[in-house]
Amino acid sequence: MTNDPRVDDYLARLRKALTGMSLSEREDIVEEIRMHIRERAGDSPSSIGEVLAGLGPAAELAEQYRTGLLLQKARRSVSPLLILRAAMRWALTGVEGMVVFLVAIVGYLTGVAFLLLALLKPLFPQRTGLWVGPGAFEFTVRMGALPVSTPALHEVLGWWFMPVCAVLGSFALIGTTKLIQILMRRFRWRTPLAQAMLASGTLAAGWGSLT
């Protein structure tokens, strides 16, 4: 029965691992799992171990809950931090997640880099800007302690560099957010079922309805 200390211990570990959600949400999940154990175990205390093994480790179960809800929130959110966290967790589950994570990293880093340049221009006006060289299209953004007195290059944009960088940075951030949301909807979130099924050995079972 659920008075078994192994059940209490399992539920305590599950509760502890269910971070990032409201208290009522957490208790609702714990209660549902408690009832599942109770119903599955019936009156035979010897089967408690099997029921808990069927549920998998508490930390992994909590991870599945958290990942699903995080991505759900990220689909609706415009917060780059939330989207990055969701993409990072998604990246651990497969190629699709990895692609989304890389897109997020490249997009947000580009956006942040442009915004930083816009902020650095008034601080280091001689070193921050867009320089164009003769011949082939050649440009350099020089910052920090680098020498800027190469005669073959001349600066273009001038103080327009700031708004241009601010606009490009904002476009990169907004564009990345929109793109990630489209990818999330397109790929759909998939729970790490493959691992769960492999762990429970159910891959050996047939899929008769397909044939």
Binding site: D28, G54, L61, T202, L203
Partner: protein, 141 residues
């Protein structure tokens, strides 16, 4: 004696493919299991096992139900059961029904299209297995 060479890569990739296929169908299977009315987690697991041979680890179903509920495809309600303890029942929302319908249509179209493509493969496989059976019989005679 010929030495047996294991082929782990091939076996592994076909297992992965099967897992991916099942994974892709899981949401449709869960939504479809609720088509006739509300069920609680364990009943959904049993329905999937009984009607589709889709056997899941028990810990897999609850996070999926939770996510589908968060997406607005399912509703949930605690109901005091005769068993003496409450059960959390799940039911399809109108958008859940719509999603299940769309998925079922897409699945039917997809499998019908693929069916004609794989028909020669299956025919050849059946023929080969028949020929092998016949050869074994001849050897035994």
């Amino acid at each position: 004696m010929a030495k047996q060479v294991p082929i782990p890569v091939e076996a592994d990739s076909s297992e992965k493919w099967e897992a991916q296929m099942r994974k892709g169908c899981l949401e449709m299977a869960v939504l479809s299991s609720l088509w006739h009315g509300r069920l609680y987690g364990l009943e959904i697991l049993r329905a999937l096992e009984r009607d589709s041979q889709l056997i899941l680890s028990e810990g897999t179903i609850y996070p999926i139900l939770n996510r589908l509920r968060a997406e607005g495809l399912l509703t949930s309600q605690w109901v005091e059961a005769e068993a003496g303890h409450p059960r959390k029942y799940y039911d399809l929302t109108p958008s859940g029904r719509e999603r299940a319908t769309r998925m079922a249509e897409m699945w039917t179209e997809f499998s019908a299209g693929l069916g004609s493509l794989i028909e020669p493969v299956l025919k050849a496989a059946r023929k080969s297995s028949r020929d092998n059976g016949r050869s074994r019989k001849e050897l035994l005679l």
